[in-house]
Symmetry: C2
Subunit: 117 residues, 2 copies
């Protein structure tokens, strides 16, 4: 299955009480209404990386244009972030190691396998 | 210019003294010998995300096969990580907001612009 990733990289200005509520809500919306496949956020110091995964670009566009998300983006620009970069990319290859990996031979488990199957 | 991202997502088992040394060395190698364009690592709790950016897939393959990197991958599997996923994707769109954004009109600064120019 094809899969797109949206990479959100941000320098944090300050997270207020509303941030946590909004982040939770946006994640819920992404899964419930826009077919989001996976959502992974990591914060270290003032660096945030959020990876979200989608079935196609139309889902990403619809997600980006949702009125609640537009407001969240505005709050991000106004209050939460100094700066950010968004990158969109179709995943062409994927491989796993360790416990998360599919049950396969060692070579496959630790080798490159096509993402689209 | 075309650009590929390698997304490394891992669940950390334990980072020992060698990890920090190796991580620094791998980053140096990536830039000095393999044309790495950007390298961004974020750790929160036992989650690590490392984003690295490359001009083409050949650079990624060469990087992956370098003897020192092969040893580092083995140490990662044996000691540092419970599990990990690696995803490779060509970036097709990119946009910026805030201070890092290119000097452009507001619409462009906060709108989607093609990554390849």
């Amino acid at each position: 299955m094809a899969m797109y990733v949206v990479i959100f990289r941000a320098r944090i200005r300050a997270f207020d009480a509303e941030y946590s509520h909004t982040a939770t809500r946006m994640r819920e919306l992404a899964f419930a209404q826009f077919g989001c496949l996976d959502f992974h956020a990591v914060v270290e110091g003032d660096n945030e990386v959020v990876l979200s995964y989608w079935p196609d670009e139309a889902a990403i566009r619809a997600w980006r244009a949702h009125p609640e998300h537009v407001l969240a983006q505005q709050a991000g620009r106004d209050r939460w972030y100094v700066s950010y970069t968004v990158q969109i990319a179709p995943i062409t290859r994927e491989y796993h190691g360790g416990l998360k990996g599919p049950v396969q031979s060692d070579r496959q488990q630790f080798g490159i396998v096509p993402a689209a199957e």
